[in-house]
């Protein structure tokens, strides 16, 4: 049976990128792969939209990038989480849990 993929809510992509990078440095393609992997391939993300998100996060100082050589010996830009980014991820996870909890509570109300 084909799995239907859920679209992303506004603002969640940044959090998912931070989460993917919390597991180690990756290039853009790898980040997309990791998000697919950790979400069980359930989220629909247009791959190109990762990059403006990454650049925004770098601008805010939450990720850092540098060019390095990838596994297949190709030059690639790798991103890693900064200390400020790690703190931001914790903050966003807490906010997300609160929001999801409140939404579920509202939906279950009879």
């Amino acid at each position: 049976m084909a799995k239907s993929k859920a679209g992303l809510l506004q603002g969640t992509l940044d959090m998912l990128i931070l989460k993917a990078l919390s597991l180690g440095a990756l290039h853009g393609y790898g980040i997309g792969q990791r998000i697919a992997q950790i979400s069980g391939d359930a989220l629909k993300i247009e791959e190109g939209s990762l990059y403006p998100g990454l650049y925004r996060l770098e601008q805010r100082g939450w990720v850092q990038s540098e060019w390095d050589v990838s596994d297949n010996n190709q030059k690639a830009k790798f991103y890693k989480l900064t200390r400020a980014g790690r703190k931001q991820l914790i903050l966003e996870e807490r906010n997300w849990e609160r929001l999801a909890g409140a939404t579920m509570k509202a939906l279950r109300a009879s």
Binding site: Y29, G48, S49, Y55, Q59, G61
Partner: protein, 157 residues
């Protein structure tokens, strides 16, 4: 309790310094992106093309023909040019609200142009060239002011 408060202060100071450093780094990157626009655009394009290449390779490994693989890679990437333009725009933008800074710059240029105009009017001119050079100075400042104002207007699509 005093020790705990000291640790809190230390933690807050460390966090402030980390945040300040990342802002400074982002500001330097933004200035670099403004000065080396073409280089940044090339760098962004290289990065995005690499993504499409990696996806194409993965599609081929999954059994697609090279043509199909590339078409599918471009499709799953989305609007390449639009993504590239967004990335370049973000690289150029400053990591803080630059409105007060720009406003200050405009006021300074306007004041300088006004002062230069007054100076030109009130200075006795012994030769045409000195008058022309002063008028030229006023014109340059006025142009700078106009350019700065034009850049400040938001782009509408």
């Amino acid at each position: 309790m005093g020790a705990a408060r000291g640790r809190d202060h230390e933690g807050a100071a460390r966090e402030l310094s980390v945040r300040t450093m990342s802002r400074i780094r982002a500001t330097i990157n933004s200035i670099r992106a403004r000065l080396h626009h073409d280089e940044i655009a090339r760098e962004v394009e290289t990065e995005l093309r690499l993504h499409v290449e990696m996806r194409t390779r993965a599609n081929i490994e999954a059994g697609m023909t090279p043509d199909e693989a590339q078409r599918a890679a471009l499709q799953s990437f989305g609007d390449f040019d639009n993504v590239k333009a967004s990335c370049c725009e973000i690289r150029r933008s400053l990591p803080f609200d630059s409105t007060p800074l720009r406003m200050g710059l405009h006021i300074a240029i306007a004041a300088l142009a006004g002062a230069a105009a007054l100076w030109t009017v009130n200075t006795p001119h012994h030769s045409l060239s000195s008058l022309l050079s002063q008028l030229g100075f006023v014109a340059v400042l006025t142009c700078l002011f106009v350019i700065a104002r034009r850049n400040q207007k938001p782009h509408r699509q």
